[in-house]
Amino acid sequence: MKEQPIKNFFVAGPISPQKIAESIAGHSTKKNIGAHSIFLGQVRADENKEGTVQAIEYTTYQAMALEQMHQIREALFKKYTLTCMHVYHSIGLVKAGEICLFVFVSSVHRKDAIAACEEMVEAIKFKLPIWGKEILDNQKTVWKENH
């Protein structure tokens, strides 16, 4: 198996709907694809007892996150029949209503694409060293927790 370069999947700030459209359009030449499963994470304006979330600031241990992502991808490509899988995660500030995560999995058939996309989302939440700090409307901050 040839060594693949570890791709940086972090994006500074929010992920634009336009970028998502371009990713989708870029796959029209891959004519064996029958199904795309896409997950988007959007920052919520949650109302905590401390205040209302205005934005999340994401930080990461990048070297470790890239290596972990590499392994997660390899495992999913072994487990499922996939044509391609793209992931983008924001780093830095993302405001409420903006997109912070874009997972895009394509396959010949829907079942592989859907299952691999869901597994990738779970892996991103629980296996990648990324942290979100919620910035509230009163300038207080609360560390985000994943469930």
């Binding site: 930080t59 241990y61 296996k127 990648l128 060293p129 979100g132 560390w143």
Partner: protein, 75 residues
């Protein structure tokens, strides 16, 4: 060696990176850090050595990077 802190642990240590003199294993490192930052002792975290997660006390080498990481909350 290099010690890294992430997430809310930075609120405790007030820095994300510490250059640290050589220390033999991760348990000894934890003990000296607990003396310097008592709040670290009750914080929830996992550790990684050179980017690999560890579960038990681990022998360290000159030049290792040790990371202290609170529960992940990406996505």
């Amino acid at each position: 060696m290099m010690v890294l802190f992430f997430g809310n642990l930075v609120d405790i240590t007030q820095q994300s990176e510490l250059a640290w003199p050589f220390i033999h294993n991760t348990m000894q490192l934890q003990q000296v850090l607990y003396e310097q930052y008592p709040a670290l002792q009750t914080a929830q975290y996992v550790m990684a050595v050179n980017g690999k997660m560890i579960q038990t006390n681990t022998i360290l080498q000159e030049g290792d990077t040790i990371a202290f990481m609170p529960p992940f909350s990406g996505g």
